[in-house]
């Protein structure tokens, strides 16, 4: 859609001509997003094309361009590392500026003593971890991996991962943020706003964390976060990760005060009991059900193949005929990865003893082959740096996550078998990767100290095959039905699907949500910070009176008697 050249020139004046483009092919590189083919007409891989892509270099430039957007009523959508179909504009023919924040890529400060880092949007997990580890510190890299923006996960998306059990997710580790609202103001949250520094997101000063992020974050729908502070945690390992071996299966030697295990469980009850006992005993450092995402029926063949640089996927088929591999498959069918870190030899030896006792109590066990040195070192590298997370796509170019309802291990163990059974059913079409019904992955605990977990079903499909894409869509639609039939709320797939819905359908669905009054409240927030409605619906809100004659009033919950 044509927009006034005046707007374009105004933006050019702010960021310079080299930092803005409206070339259609260049814009398509922002419209192209993973999973677009599951929600777009004709299975197009392109979301709506932005009107221009802009590379601001500073908060001031973000602010100035945002004000131009307000003047000309142009929507705005920031991305940092940018991944998922919701990172692109959502609606056709709606002029949108795509902020690509890659020029804002600095680590501004690492306060070693007070344990926080101040970062810009394009700092990725691997960079920040490498720098803070030199100072004996660490933070939780999110499940999507070290390729991702730390700020984005902290300020605008769900920032959990394998390290969250010990260090907290990035949403919790967020200590303050600088935010350019869609309305064109700079807001600083928490203690920062009172001139006290970046130590607390809740104040003294305005606590806007609940407004700007919630559990899932605004995903670019509520302006641009230009700086944030992340809480850092003590790291008892060496200051530099010295990867060994050949790619892709680099290995990280296991420090004397570390242990790296894969724990198997005979059934879901034992799995849940083991989680509870780990929480109770507060052992462990990184805790994640990771390698099963390649599918319990074939995952060990894939991973043991993956660490051999001479092998290709063809070799996985052959490996499956090996009785030793079949043995590992059965041992690791329900399993998770567990890295323990001690502050001393005594500490790690105690944790080892406690783990052994937990395994004896619960009937769980160490998966022998996965605990051998080569694979354990690979696991150590994988889990600490999370630099292989796009093995999500190891089978082929399409992946989606379904289920993923968070809850206690006792809650999750109830839906896990259902997720397994229904995925087995869906694989019978041969249009999804047939890896077995259990391709479940998830954090040992997304909150520090344990108590909560979640499992996401990893569904692989061929993003270049129309029939496979259709099967992926059907799987998502069926998962919503399966979940409802089992009394569960919609899972991650419903968020994916909604990205492609027309605005009215989205509002209709939200109007039926339990406690939808929250979305009416969020309308007021949006009106305050985004008066010209320049952000998209990734920040959820309902138009006044939508779907009802009379807005439902919020009533306080009855106190328990």
């Amino acid at each position: 859609m044509e927009i006034s050249r005046d707007a374009y020139r105004a933006i050019e004046d702010i960021v310079g001509p080299d930092n803005v483009t409206d070339d259609p092919a260049l814009l398509d590189s922002y419209a192209f997003e993973v999973m677009a083919e599951t929600v777009r007409p004709d299975q197009s891989h392109f979301m709506p094309r932005p009107w221009a892509a802009v590379l601001p270099g500073s908060t001031e430039e973000v602010l100035a361009v945002t004000r131009v957007c307000n003047k000309y009523k142009i929507k705005l959508k920031p991305i940092s590392t940018g991944w998922y179909h919701w990172a692109a504009p959502l609606i056709d023919n709606e002029p949108t500026i795509q902020f690509d924040l890659r020029r804002m890529n600095r680590i501004l400060e690492i306060d070693e003593k007070n344990r926080f880092a101040i970062i810009e949007p394009y700092v990725i997990g691997a960079q920040l971890q490498a720098e803070v580890m030199k100072r004996g510190l660490n933070f939780s890299i999110i499940g999507a991996g070290s390729s991702c923006s730390v700020l984005a996960s902290a300020c605008a998306y769900s920032g959990v991962g394998p390290g969250a059990y010990n260090m907290g997710g990035n949403a919790e580790a967020l200590l303050g943020q600088e935010w350019v609202t869609p309305g064109g103001e700079i807001i600083r949250t928490g203690s920062l706003s009172s001139g006290c520094g970046w130590f607390c997101s809740e104040g003294p000063g305005p606590s806007l964390r609940g407004i700007t992020r919630g559990v899932f974050g605004s995903r670019g729908g509520l302006g641009t976060f230009t700086k944030c502070a992340i809480k850092l945690s003590h790291y008892p390992g060496p200051p530099v990760m010295e990867a060994q071996g050949r790619l892709p299966g680099y290995r990280l030697p296991i420090h004397e005060n570390f242990r790296v295990y894969t724990i198997g469980a005979p059934d879901w009850d034992a799995w849940a009991n083991c989680y509870h006992e780990i929480y109770d005993n507060r052992i462990g450092y990184i805790f994640h059900k990771q390698f099963g995402f390649a599918g319990a029926n074939i995952a060990p063949a894939m991973w043991l193949n993956y660490i051999d640089p001479t092998k290709t996927l063809n070799d996985v088929e052959t490996a499956l005929k090996d009785p030793e591999i079949q043995k590992v498959i059965e041992e690791a069918r329900i399993s998770f990865q567990f890295v323990m870190a001690g502050n001393s030899t005594d500490d790690i030896q105690l944790q080892d003893k406690i783990l052994d006792a937990i395994l004896a109590n619960t009937g769980c066990y160490k998966v022998k082959r996965y605990c051998e040195q080569d694979f354990a070192e690979f696991t150590n590298m994988y889990m600490q740096r999370l630099g292989h997370k796009h093995c999500n796509y190891v089978w082929v170019g399409g992946y989606l996550g379904s289920w993923m309802q968070p809850g206690t291990p006792d809650f999750v163990k109830k839906y896990a078998p259902i997720a397994v059974k229904t995925f087995e059913r869906d694989q019978k079409s041969h249009l999804l990767v047939e890896c077995g019904g259990d391709a479940l992955m998830g954090p040992g605990s997304p909150i520090p100290g344990g108590g909560q977990t979640a499992l996401e079903q990893f569904v692989s499909y061929d993003s270049a095959d129309r029939e496979s894409i259709k099967a992926a869509i059907k799987h998502m639609e069926d998962a919503v039905v399966d979940e409802a039939a089992n009394g569960l709320p919609p899972g991650k797939e419903s968020i994916y699907l909604q990205v492609g819905w027309p605005q009215e359908k989205v509002f209709d669905a939200w109007a039926k949500m339990p406690q939808q009054f929250i979305l009416n409240f969020q309308r007021k927030i949006k009106a305050a910070f985004d008066p010209n409605n320049l952000g998209d619906r990734n920040y959820q809100w309902l138009p006044e009176g939508w779907g009802q004659k009379k807005p439902v009033e919020a009533k306080p919950t009855e106190p328990p008697k």
């Binding site: 398509d28 590189s29 993973v34 720098e131 990767v433 496979s468």
Partner: protein, 424 residues
């Protein structure tokens, strides 16, 4: 290969952006974590490998046309292959580097050429070199050395100096040094002298396939007539062209050895003894065409097949080029064999090495970008405390010399052969 053949890779790219970084397991600092010179310089996503795949898909679907900006994104890249390494950390089904070469070739075939490259290509077609110099000057580097002339005599081994060593006066001594080392080791070899031709590798990377093929056919015929079965070269770009491109595109079966591999073998076999101390601290820069792109080519003609319903593999299995088996240790072993010399490593080495900026026609078409890329590498070399950056490719060395000249840096730029000569 038509643009259509890129469609599957484009549709299966997930825009994960791994192609912009070195493998994450190898990241040791913020400063030296970036892997792709093109995206760091061009900034928009289209300057990455994934971005170029999207451009191909956009063009295929008729969503966009080839504009000046598109041409800029396609050609402003050194084709260093770091993207390929990082992409293949998690993927077995994508070939981003090969795809980018194909995209260039398609654009050239369709008439979308860079004006800056026209004189370079003209020089190649008339003077058979990439430096635009008179072919009469080729071979001047030999000076007073007595070397068998394979246009008149026969030998199984040909020493191929390459365009840069032949015509770049500041670097020609490296070729002379290499020849002296071969003579000292009593190797029976010869040269093509003034009849030596460009390998054509740069033309291939610039998208000019026919020019490459003409040069490949000429060289292979000339070597065949001279009875040659092995080519030794001190140039990594020639090495890649002979080892990978000649085999893949022209069916060559000739054995290809880089000078550092040969010297490494001589040292390990006790045929070359390095005895004189060279008290220096140096860092080694892996040339892209010797390192991650230096893997052996394995002929393959197969088709995609699906296993486990939708997982993609190939029948027969497709060879995998991901830098895992590049030439990394021979140059390091040679340096370690020099008495008194200390090798200190940069953060980005081997398959994760940052490019010198000269490849893919970048130094000819985009000198500022090329120089910026080289300067980045010099900064990394300086961070090690080394007094010299050492390499095994004249194109890298030329770019580093240009990047260090006139900017006050004390960093020396050397070829391994120069250090070997000092140690003899």
């Amino acid at each position: 290969m038509p643009l259509e053949d890129l469609r599957l890779d484009a549709m299966r790219c997930t825009r994960c952006a791994y192609c912009k970084w070195i493998p994450f397991d190898l990241v040791k600092s913020w400063r030296f974590s970036k892997g792709c010179p093109s995206i760091e310089y061009g900034k928009f996503h289209s300057y990455s490998a994934g971005g170029r795949l999207i451009t191909a898909l956009s063009l295929l679907e008729g969503r966009s046309t080839v504009t000046e900006k598109v041409i800029d994104t396609v050609f402003k890249c050194t084709l260093c292959g770091q993207c390929d390494v990082s992409c293949k950390m998690c993927r077995y089904d994508l070939e981003p580097l090969a795809d980018m070469r194909e995209l260039r070739s398609t654009l050239v075939q369709d008439g979308h050429e860079l004006l800056q490259l026209k004189p370079v290509l003209e020089g190649l077609r008339t003077e058979f070199n990439m430096l635009g110099q008179s072919k009469k000057l080729r071979g001047n580097w030999i000076a007073d050395l007595q070397i068998k002339d394979l246009t008149k005599e026969k030998a199984k081994i040909v020493f191929h100096a390459g365009c840069r060593y032949s015509f770049d006066g500041e670097l020609g001594h490296v070729a002379r040094t290499a020849v002296k080392i071969l003579q000292k080791a009593d190797v029976d070899f010869g040269i093509m002298g003034k009849q030596e031709n460009c390998c054509g590798g740069h033309a291939y990377d610039m998208g000019y396939r026919q020019d490459f093929r003409t040069r490949a056919d000429f060289n292979l015929r000339a070597w065949s007539e001279a009875g040659v079965d092995t080519v030794i070269t001190p140039c990594s770009d020639c090495y890649f062209a002979f080892k990978r491109l000649y085999t893949a595109e022209a069916g060559s079966t000739i054995k290809v050895i880089h000078m550092v591999e040969f010297v490494d073998r001589l040292i390990k076999a006790g045929q070359l003894k390095l005895t004189k101390p060279v008290p220096m601290t140096v860092t080694y820069h892996d040339p892209c065409h010797l390192g991650r792109q230096g893997e052996t080519y394995v002929p393959w003609a197969g088709v995609e097949k699906k296993i486990f319903g939708q997982a993609v593999c190939y029948e027969p299995p497709r060879p995998r080029y991901n830098g895992a088996f590049g030439i990394y240790e021979p140059p390091r072993d040679v340096l370690k064999a020099i008495p008194g010399l200390e090798l200190v490593e940069m953060e980005r080495i081997k398959e994760a090495g940052w490019c010198c900026g000269a490849g893919g026609g970048a130094s000819q078409a985009y000198p500022e970008f090329s120089r910026w890329t080289a300067t980045e590498r010099i900064e990394e070399a300086k961070s090690t405390g080394a007094e010299a950056i050492v390499s095994a490719c004249p194109w890298c060395e030329r770019n580093f010399l240009d990047a260090t000249s006139g900017n006050g840096t004390n960093m020396k730029v050397l070829d391994i052969m120069e250090l070997v000569e000092q140690a003899l």
